[in-house]
Symmetry: C2
Subunit: 82 residues, 2 copies
């Protein structure tokens, strides 16, 4: 068993209304000193076996085609050490 | 300028229909070997200054009260080294 994390964030040039709303709420509630907030998604994939290079390439493919929209989003794939 | 990451995931005992849907889609699309998927949120907070212990305590407070629902979600706060 191993775990791979896929993080999907909007590209920096894409407007992020969710992040903006969170930023506004933080400021209103008195949490100062925050200049920007971006909100994205985080996927934890539990694999039945070791993480091989081939398996990782397959997950990158899934991240690009299913988990993110590459027109507006960037993704990163990380292997979680247990 | 510094950046703090807040990750919010459903608690392990809480059913995650979004993750289940992603898991089903991965399997249907031929991405085998994945036994479970959990989907959560990821917030990038851009701060105007250095991350101090006091600032970090404030962000943990925000994570608990605004960014997550502590009844069903867990959060982690990480300082991103730049």
């Amino acid at each position: 068993m191993s775990r791979v994390i896929v993080e999907v964030m909007l590209k920096p040039e894409i407007l992020d209304p969710q992040g903006k709303a969170v930023h506004g709420a933080l400021t209103r509630l008195g949490f100062g000193g925050v200049v920007d907030v971006r909100q994205g998604k985080r996927f934890e994939l539990e694999l039945d076996d070791e993480v091989t290079e081939e398996r990782l390439a397959q997950i990158r493919n899934a991240a690009e085609t299913l988990l993110s929209n590459p027109v507006i989003e960037d993704y990163t794939v990380k292997v979680e050490q247990s």
